[in-house]
C-alpha cells in the first residue's frame, strides 16, 4: 500500500470526509443514517492515482485520508458484515469477487487502491453506476468497509489464466 502525503488546504466544501481526515476514529455510528454536516470547510483530499500524477507531473497538493482502522482485523470483520448489509455484495458479489460491478479482490483498482482512494470511491461514488454512499454512511462505517476490502488476499495467479 502506497500513501502520498500532501498539504491540506483550507478551501472547498467537503462534508463528512473532513472528519475522517483527522485520523481519529469517530464514535461508532449506525449505518444508513444521514451524515450531519460538520460545518468545517476544508480541501478535497488528494486524488492519488497514477494517471493524475502523470498528467500533472507532480502530485496535486491536497489532504491525506488516514484509515483509523487500517489493518485492524476486528474492523475488517465488521466491514465484511457491512459489505453485505449495505448491499455492496449485490453488485460486487460475496467476497467482492465481481458480478455486475468490478472485482474488488483482484488487487487492481480503477480509481486507486490506497485506503483514501477507496474511501473516496465509496463516499462520492464513481461513473458507471457506483452510488455515492457518503450521504448515507458515517465515516467510520466507510473506513470499516475499506479495511475489509484491503484485508482480502489478492490471488497470486490473477494475471495468467491457463487451461
Amino acid at each position: 500500500m502506497r500513501h502520498t502525503r500532501a498539504t491540506f488546504l483550507a478551501v472547498g466544501t467537503l462534508v463528512g470526509a473532513a472528519a475522517c481526515a483527522s485520523g481519529k476514529p469517530a464514535p461508532p455510528a449506525e449505518a444508513a443514517q444521514p451524515v450531519a454536516p460538520t460545518g468545517q470547510f476544508t480541501a478535497p483530499p488528494s486524488v492519488r492515482y497514477d494517471q493524475h500524477v502523470f498528467a500533472g507531473g507532480a502530485v496535486p497538493p491536497a489532504g491525506t485520508l488516514d484509515n483509523p482502522f487500517a489493518a485492524d482485523p476486528k474492523s475488517a470483520t465488521e466491514g465484511e458484515k457491512l459489505f453485505s448489509s449495505m448491499n455492496c455484495n449485490g453488485c460486487h458479489a460475496t467476497g467482492a469477487t465481481g458480478a455486475w460491478a468490478p472485482s474488488l479482490s483482484d488487487g487492481r483498482w480503477r480509481y486507486g487502491g490506497a485506503d483514501g482512494a477507496i474511501y473516496q470511491s465509496i463516499f462520492y461514488g464513481r461513473p458507471e453506476g457506483m452510488p455515492a454512499f457518503g450521504g448515507m454512511l458515517q465515516p467510520p462505517v466507510i473506513w470499516k468497509l475499506v479495511t475489509y476490502l484491503k484485508s482480502l488476499p489478492v490471488p497470486r495467479a490473477v494475471p495468467t489464466q491457463s487451461w
Binding site: 444508513a32 458480478a99 487492481r108 453506476g129 452510488p131 490473477v158
Partner: protein, 600 residues
C-alpha cells in the same frame, strides 16, 4: 430427477421417431403464404413466432451458407435482440450506449445511411443487473422506436435518422432500467422496466406513437385502481377477489416487490389483447414477502387501448427461486386434446412449458421441458404448481441444495423461442443447470440491489450445460434435442425451408433440420451468441440471414473473465463453466449470411 420425470423423458424418446415421421408427411401439404421478406418487429410478427415464410434456404442447401458481410458495432457488451430489416435498410441497436445504425442493403458493402448516438446516462450501468444489454427496436409508421438503458424511449425517423421524440419513462434512481424491446400496437408504444433485483414497483406504460406522451400506466402489483383492473373486465381463470395485487403480499411489501417487464410482448388483433410476462418478486428471500405476490411471475393480458387487465395467470406463486416469467408468449392455434385452441405457449424460467388458452388464461398443458425438481407438476384444476417442500428457500432455511432449474431458467427469457406452423413445433434454447440457494435477509436501500441470496450453479444431469430442443406444445413433449456443451442462450429462427437457426455461447451459429434436429451447418462468428437470428429477402431477391455475435447478458457476470478491455477487473472463471474463456471473449459483431453464389 423424479421418477415421474424420468418416465416422461423415456416416453418422449420412444415417441420421437413416430411423431417425426407423421409430422414430415403433414408438413409437406401445409400451404405457405408468401412472406413479405421484411423483419419489422422483434418476434417477426405479433404472434412472436420468429418464423419466416422465406423458402430459399432449405435443409438440402443449408450446408452451402456462407458469410457475406460483417460489421463491428464497436461495443463489447452482450448483444441480445435482433436487427430489423425494412425497405432495404437494416437497423441495429447496440447495447449501452444504444447506438442505432442504419445500413443501406441496396448498395455494395452495405454502407451506413446514418447512425444515431443518443445521450445515455452511465449511471444506469450501476442498476442494470445483467449487463447493459438492449433487446432491440420496433418499426412502425416510418419510425424506429426503442428504449435507452437509462429509462428513455426514443422514436427515430427511419429515413433520416433524426430523433422525433425522446421521453423519460423510468428512473434509474429507483433501480429502473429499460433494456426491453417495445411493442407497437396501433398508436400505442408499450414499454416496461427492468429492476426485479432493485426493489422496483413494476409497471407497463403505453406511449403515444406520434408524441411519446404516456397514454396509460398499469402497475403489475398494488391496488386494482393502479393495476387498471376494471370491474367486469378482469376475468382471471383461476383467481377471484379484489385488490389481489395487495392482499397477496404481507403488509405493504408490494410497494417494493419488483415485478419487472423486461421480456417480449405479443398481440392478438382478434381478441385485442397484448400479452407480456412479469418478472420476479423482490427480494429473493421469500420470507420478506409472504403470500402469492401477485402478479409477479405471471402473464398479463391487457387491452392496448386503455391498458385494462383482462386476465392474468401466475406461473410461480410466492416465488422462492427467482423464476421470472418474462419469456415470450408465442401465439399459435394448436390442437389440444382433439380441439383447436387459440393457444399461448410459454417456456417459463421455472422449467415448465405452458400451453394456455389465450382468450381466458386457462392452462391446457404444463410439462417440464428441462429437468425440474422444485415442483412435481402443475395441477391443471387450480393452475398451481405442486411444490416439493424440501426445495423451498428462505433466510430461515439456510443453504438449500440442488434445485433445478437455476434462476437462469430452464430457458432464459433473453433467448426467445420460435414456432413453425409447418412442423407445428416450438424450438427453444435451454439450460441444463441446477443451483443451491442460500437466502438471507435483504435490506432495502433505494437504487441498490434488493436481493438477499447466494445461488451457485452446477451442471444438471448428464454434465452438458445446455440443449437446443424441439417441443410439441399440443401435448407437452420434447420431440428432439441437440445437446450442447454450454448453456444455449440465443434466440431462435424458424423458416419455411424447414431449417431452424440458433447460436451458442462459444461462438457458433448453427442450422438444424426443423423436423429431425440434424445439424446442417455451422459457422464460428467469434464471440458467443446471445442475440436472435433473423432472415429477410434482400434487394436482389435472395434470402439472407443476420445474427449478432457478442457474448454478455448474464454471461458477463457468470463466466468469470470473458473480457480483456479492463485491466482493473480480473476474475477467476466460474467453476461450472471454467473453460468458456478458451473459446470466446467479448466483442459485438453483426453478421450476414447467404447461400454460396449469392450476388451482391
Amino acid at each position: 430427477m423424479s421418477t415421474q420425470l424420468r418416465q416422461v423423458a423415456a416416453l418422449a424418446l420412444i415417441c420421437t421417431a413416430v411423431a417425426t415421421a407423421a409430422r414430415a408427411q403433414a408438413s409437406a401439404k401445409a400451404p405457405v403464404p408468401r412472406d413479405d421478406g421484411r423483419w419489422t418487429m422483434p418476434g417477426k410478427d405479433y404472434s412472436a413466432t420468429r418464423y419466416s415464410g422465406l423458402t430459399q434456404i432449405t435443409r438440402v442447401n443449408a450446408a452451402r451458407l456462407q458469410p457475406v458481410w460483417n460489421f463491428s458495432t464497436g461495443v463489447l457488451r452482450g448483444h441480445e435482440g435482433q436487427p430489423l430489416v425494412v425497405d432495404n435498410t437494416m437497423f441495429v441497436v447496440t447495447p449501452y450506449p444504444n447506438v442505432l445504425y442504419a445500413f443501406d442493403l441496396s448498395k455494395p458493402d452495405y454502407p451506413l445511411k446514418w447512425k444515431y448516438r443518443p445521450a445515455v446516462s452511465s449511471n444506469a450501468l450501476g442498476v442494470a443487473c445483467c449487463d447493459a444489454i438492449n433487446r432491440g427496436a420496433f418499426y412502425a409508421e416510418g419510425k424506429i422506436v426503442y428504449n435507452l438503458l437509462d429509462g428513455h424511449t426514443v422514436a427515430v425517423d427511419a429515413t433520416t435518422g433524426k430523433e422525433l421524440w425522446n421521453v423519460k419513462i423510468a428512473d434509474p434512481k429507483d433501480g429502473e432500467t429499460t433494456p426491453m424491446a417495445p411493442l407497437v400496437v396501433k398508436n400505442r408504444v408499450i414499454v416496461g422496466p427492468s429492476g426485479g433485483e432493485f426493489g422496483i414497483h413494476g409497471w407497463a406504460k403505453a406511449l403515444d406513437l406520434a408524441t411519446g406522451q404516456v397514454a396509460w400506466t398499469a402497475y403489475n402489483e398494488g391496488p386494482d385502481a393502479d393495476m387498471l383492473v376494471k370491474p367486469g373486465t378482469f376475468k382471471p381463470f383461476y383467481d377471484r377477489g379484489t385488490d389481489l395485487g395487495v392482499t397477496t403480499w404481507a403488509e405493504d411489501t408490494w410497494r417494493v416487490g419488483g415485478a419487472p417487464v423486461w421480456g417480449w410482448l405479443s398481440y392478438d388483433p382478434e381478441l385485442d389483447l397484448v400479452y407480456f410476462g412479469v418478472g420476479n418478486p423482490g427480494p429473493y428471500n421469500p420470507e420478506q414477502r409472504l403470500g402469492d405476490n401477485k402478479w409477479t411471475n405471471s402473464v398479463l393480458a391487457r387491452r392496448p387501448g386503455d391498458g385494462a387487465l383482462v386476465w392474468a395467470y401466475q406461473f410461480t406463486p410466492h416465488d422462492n427461486w427467482d423464476y421470472d416469467s418474462n419469456a415470450e408468449m408465442i401465439l399459435a392455434d394448436l390442437t389440444v386434446k382433439g380441439r383447436v385452441r387459440k393457444a399461448l405457449v410459454h417456456f417459463d424460467k421455472n422449467g415448465f412449458a405452458y400451453t394456455l388458452d389465450r382468450a381466458t388464461g386457462e392452462v391446457l398443458v404444463a410439462e417440464p421441458y428441462v429437468v425440474v425438481n422444485w415442483a412435481k407438476g402443475v395441477d391443471l384444476k387450480t393452475g398451481r404448481p405442486i411444490v416439493d417442500s424440501t426445495k423451498l428457500t428462505g433466510a430461515g432455511k439456510g443453504d438449500v441444495k440442488y434445485i433445478c432449474p437455476t434462476l437462469e431458467g430452464g430457458k432464459s427469457p433473453a433467448s426467445p423461442a420460435a414456432f413453425s406452423p409447418r412442423t407445428k413445433l416450438f424450438y427453444a434454447s435451454t439450460l441444463n443447470l441446477c443451483m443451491n440457494f442460500a437466502a438471507q435477509k435483504a435490506g432495502r436501500i433505494r437504487g441498490t440491489p434488493y436481493v438477499g441470496a447466494d445461488m451457485p450453479y452446477q451442471a444438471g444431469p448428464g454434465g452438458h450445460l445446455g440443449a437446443f430442443i424441439a417441443w410439441d406444445a399440443s401435448v407437452g413433449r420434447k420431440v428432439w434435442e441437440i445437446k450442447e456443451r454450454y448453456p444455449v442462450w440465443s434466440g431462435v429462427l424458424a423458416t419455411a425451408g424447414d431449417v431452424v437457426f440458433y447460436g451458442t455461447l462459444d461462438g457458433w451459429f448453427k442450422a438444424a433440420d426443423a423436423t429431425t434436429g440434424k445439424l446442417l451447418w455451422k459457422f464460428k462468428v467469434g464471440s458467443g451468441v446471445v442475440g436472435a437470428p433473423i432472415t429477410y429477402r434482400g434487394p436482389d431477391g435472395r434470402q439472407y440471414l443476420a445474427v449478432y455475435a457478442g457474448i454478455g447478458g448474464d454471461w458477463a457476470l457468470l463466466s468469470g473473465d470473458l473480457r480483456s478491455d479492463d485491466p482493473n477487473d480480473v476474475r477467476d472463471p466460474a467453476d461450472f463453466i471454467k473453460d468458456l474463456g478458451r473459446y470466446t471473449s467479448l466483442g459485438g459483431m453483426v453478421w450476414i449470411f447467404a447461400l454460396e453464389g449469392a450476388n451482391r
